[in-house]
Symmetry: C2
Subunit: 683 residues, 2 copies
């Protein structure tokens, strides 16, 4: 929005009965098209967070040379009255406006344009004056326009307009009438009360969904509560997790994400390292949900009680952290629903249950749910109630397991249902599948999404992928959440690259993505041994056994993570993805990119050496104007990681990075560089 | 369309009453999105010509791993039944299909996708067989699916499906059942009769407007009939134009375009060289339409009678040419409408008529029409009747003067009205204005559009502009018509470049654009003297006086034009704009581009020297695969202008062009190059 925009309550088009006009008006001469953002013709909302300014653009054109004006209309979803804000003309008949979105939930918006006869007249009038044309008749036209505006309004404005209309007529002196006609106050009055001719409303209404700020900027830390004990071999509890909160919060994370915390099935339970048979003490995979002790709303008895869980949520809050739960809609053969709701599970023609499979792979410890059964409504409502149950326990962030194997329509419905009761709720989609399916899940409502980041390791891959995510319409609805590792993903890059690789990947995740996360303490410990060569599974994975971690907040890695997270928090440039821009480097092992805050005050330039083995150097091509600096003047870049300061001048800047000491620079661009001209006695 | 597609009559979604389903089905799992082309959410039609294949793409995705199928639905505008053609899966969940558009007028299309349970089952079944899983139960599933399909149909198909269903059950031997299940005939039957689960129709219907082939491929020749006499000083007639037809047709043009042929106003008539006062013999500008002898449906008495005009249209037809008329909706102060329909013209508050102006410029010999008056309907209908009158005289191509100063809604209405009676009608928009206004006119119905071509003279400008026109969505509705010169535009490039400049510009217009035109005989004569330095107006312009031209069909320029037009006609690659691709050249004075026919059989590569003064040489970067040649093998390019043949091999090709002899190569790429292997005794 421009400064102090004129807000004006506009009646809803549908709510006001059409005034029969005599004679019938010709169709409007104004075309309003190409509203942006508008996802799939308004079918899906764009996404923003509370406090954002929602910027909207639209095309508006008419025939001829008339001056147009354009207004953005917005309202809270469900409201009837529109609030109007003026839009500004850009180049090429494009207009831009904005409105603030302070509240959670959906807003609607559209645009309207019309011909402004007074501004058209005024522009032509000025041109006529320039060439000293006789303007006597033109002043009569102005008097007509102003008089008509007066007749259209009441009160003080009407009085002023009437007076002005008379002041534009003889016998008033021509020079005085010209002055009156060009008066800025008159222009303001006419903007407000002048006729809006040929008003055209954009044919559709678009929507924006407003989430809490954490949807756009978050640092996640995933851990297995059962491995949170400090005593080797002992099953961890929520109380153990509470004890670890100072460590996690100290590293700078703000979302604590727990894999499923429910009772684990016995039948077909997997053993250590995903063995088909399990030993008597094997705890099983937390994703094989449900046993005698309950299903998706129960807590695994060894983790603690619901009160312990509530205490954990509370304690996390005191450390500035939200607890995120893993919602995996699938059942172990021992889940209560199997017997209570047989219709919710598919059976084969021989009567046996259809376990999960992606032929030829079989997952016999898991039964998928049938979202299309005769009792689909019963199932959908039960699943909604799972979310609502945990929301009532204080959880409002949900990491959803494999959403791409459940219907889009279900997610659209359930996310809307949960948000209706809990507008602060956030949903992270764990869908490692084809791009269009991932994007569809984001469209139907997921607040954040896992990405292919883990497998994009070279500079050109990262650049290509993140340009797609941030420079296209995707940035309107798909919020990437970047994970260097997860309990399922130990990439070859981490396996081969040692600690330098872990540092480079953390830094890339934390600065390429406003949302990122790590799976710890595995990450801090640099755990990098796969179950087998070529596998991305960990050896002795926590997914199948209880582990114990000796966390160390004074380790070099902890120090590095703490520093990167602090830089993220302190530099607003890193709180968004949409401003991401890449800059050329003449060494393909170096990646350079920048981000800026919406107001341009915070500017960060990152240069990363993606080669974890060798020192790399090269020239970054970064004209000062690309980061908001005046061309031709030197400026300072301050490396927030190493605390060194450099003066950059011109377009090319030399950089050298040794992965063993530091894999990257995170430069804050300092706007002002002092010179002799600022010395007291210079002038 | 793939070979022999299965057409199937699908009922219209709206026409069939919804069958109440018990129990209620879950919402569809399939999402169908991003139909292309679909201009502004289906608000405007795409454009094709009769005989084209209309290619359509769409996204279709579902959760999970089920196999989808997708169909394109199309129908003539106004029909109720859809015709269905299968779409083919591309990468990234994108589907493509096509349908033929043999008839003039509009077609509607949309897409539908569904889950194919049998194909899903079959794919998984093959994977199970590969790892030798027990498939006994899976064969039961197949029997169920086939049995259900049998129950859904009747006749021979039902009988076959019933039999197959039984053959999939014990006691038939398992190996025989596997063979039955994988039988291709069964697959075909199931494709046709198997259940379509989760059918989703794209939410909107898009349209395509089908024009005559000349809308997409035409060569225009503009002349002033009053200058068509061979006797100096004599006012030319339609009969003189008839005498010139063999010359024009011989040059290879197929549209003969005449500036307005109506009586010309006397009041404020402009003199020679646009002088404000005119001499007694000055004929005035043909665009100052209307006098005592009539208005937009009358003929200037000195040009001949309506019968002469009809004779001209007939004679042009005999030479393979259409006559195009200039429709300029504006009136001289002497036009009959001024007195007959005073409401159709704006007046100023002092009662005087409002002549045309774009302040501070005044056009006092012209009154604009008021499209918004109380009698707008009367005016709109009268203007429509102008088109209909000339259409009845055999004219179906209209070059519309300044359409951007009349409402879009008027054009949308009038073009639809004219096409309703004359679906073969074509409209060329002469709008030299801002891009969005030009594009809007194309959207609302103009078949072709003038462009900025005249002012794009450097290689990079041409490349940038024509990539915008042909590589974006614009190519779906905006058909460029390229003019090196017009009676209003004598560019500085032509003024300075001499005959080499005329040749280069003609060749660029004729090969960059499938539609192009010249203003002759001025063009063939190389007329290049402006009225004043810095002006784009001609000295002694035909717009204000009668000229006489001594045309010469054996001139070097005539020969060049004839050759270029013959190459255009003979090479289908040049009949479209959408295939235009530019190729890098290491000399910025050289421009290289290619075009291909839809079937890839005709491939043309053009290299132009845009410098009219100096010989330029350089290396064209053109990997053989870019023009459909196998990489690594040499291929022949045949210069159709100079008749030389070159063997090209690898990616770089040297070119040198002397503007004094020839400004360009127009290479036909020859698919087959003989080698020793084709020699009879080689093997």
């Amino acid at each position: 929005m421009t400064d102090a925009p004129a807000h004006r309550e506009a009646p809803d088009a549908e709510a006001v009965p059409a005034v029969p006009s005599a004679p019938e008006r010709a169709p409007s001469r104004v075309a309003v098209e190409r509203l942006y953002p508008e996802i799939d013709g308004g079918r899906f909302p764009a996404k923003r967070v509370a406090g954002d300014e929602m910027v909207v653009e639209v095309n508006a054109v008419a025939d001829g040379h008339d001056e147009l004006r354009c207004a953005l209309l917005h309202r809270r979803d469900g409201a009837t009255a529109w609030t109007e804000t003026p839009m500004t003309s850009l180049v090429n008949d494009r207009w831009r406006g904005s409105f603030p979105v302070p509240a959670l939930g959906a807003y609607e918006y559209t645009a309207e344009a019309w011909i402004d006869r007074f501004r058209t007249w005024r522009r032509d009038f000025e041109r006529r004056l320039e060439v000293r044309q006789d303007v006597a008749v033109e002043l009569l036209v102005a008097a007509q326009l102003v008089g008509a505006a007066a007749a259209r309004t009441t009160g003080e404005a009407a009085r002023k307009l009437h007076a002005t209309s008379r002041a534009l007529l003889p016998p008033v002196d021509v020079q005085a009438r010209i002055k009156t006609a060009l008066d800025e106050t008159l222009l303001g009055l006419m903007d407000e009360h002048g006729e809006r001719a040929n008003v055209t409303r954009y044919p559709r209404t678009a929507r924006v969904m407003v989430d809490p700020p954490r949807a756009a900027f978050s640092a996640w830390y995933e851990l297995f509560p059962r491995s949170a004990s400090t005593k080797a071999g002992k099953h961890g509890t929520f109380r153990d997790v509470i004890d670890r909160l100072p460590y996690i919060a100290g590293l700078g994370f703000d979302v604590l994400y727990l894999p499923p915390i429910h009772p684990i099935g016995i039948t077909h339970r997997k053993g250590k390292n995903n063995a088909v048979t399990c030993g008597i003490d094997d705890p099983g995979s937390p994703w094989a949900i449900g046993a005698g002790a309950g299903g998706h709303t129960a807590i695994h008895p060894k983790l603690g009680t619901i009160d312990d869980f509530r205490a954990l949520v509370r304690a996390a809050g005191e450390h500035g952290m939200d607890v995120a739960l893993d919602i995996a809609f699938q059942c172990s053969p021992d889940h209560p629903w199997i017997t209570e709701h047989p219709l919710w599970f598919r059976r084969r023609p021989d009567g046996t249950a259809r376990y999960a499979e992606n032929p030829p792979k079989k997952y016999e410890d898991i039964y998928p749910l049938d979202f299309e059964s005769g009792d689909w409504r019963g199932l959908w409502e039960a699943l909604r109630d799972v979310f609502l149950y945990w929301a009532e326990q204080g959880v409002h962030i949900f990491r959803v397991d494999n959403p791409h194997t459940k219907p889009f329509a279900f997610w659209e419905w359930v996310i809307a249902e949960v948000k209706r009761a809990h507008p602060e709720a956030l949903f992270l989609a764990e869908a490692f599948t084809r791009p269009q399916v991932m994007y569809e899940l984001a469209k139907v409502g997921f607040s954040q999404s896992y990405t292919y980041f883990a497998w994009r390791n070279s500079a050109w891959e990262l650049r290509q992928y993140f340009e797609e995510l941030t420079q296209t319409e995707l940035s309107e609805f798909f919020r990437p959440n970047l994970w260097p590792n997860t309990p399922d993903i130990l990439t070859e890059y981490l396996q081969a690259g040692g600690e330098p690789a872990f540092r480079a990947r953390l830094l890339l995740a934390a600065t390429l993505g406003a949302n990122y996360g790590i799976y710890g303490p595995s990450f801090e410990k640099g755990e990098a041994i796969p179950r087998a060569p070529g596998s991305e599974e960990y050896r002795d994975s926590e997914k199948y056994e209880v582990r114990t971690w000796d966390v160390d907040e004074s380790s070099a890695m902890a120090d590095f993570i703490r520093r990167v997270n602090a830089i993220r928090r302190e530099n607003e440039a890193l709180h968004n993805d949409r401003s991401l821009r890449f800059h050329p480097v003449d060494n393909e092992q170096l990646l350079c990119y920048s981000k800026q805050s919406a107001d341009g005050e915070s500017v960060i330039v990152v240069v990363v050496n993606v080669d974890p083995h060798f020192t790399q150097s090269g020239w970054v091509h970064l004209p000062p104007a690309d980061v908001g600096m005046p061309d031709g003047a030197p400026f300072q870049v301050h490396d927030l990681l190493g605390d060194a300061r450099y003066i950059w001048e011109g377009d090319g800047h030399f950089v050298q990075l040794d992965p063993r000491s530091t894999p990257a620079h995170i430069f804050a661009v300092r706007k002002k560089l002092r010179s002799e001209r600022e010395f007291e006695y210079y002038f």
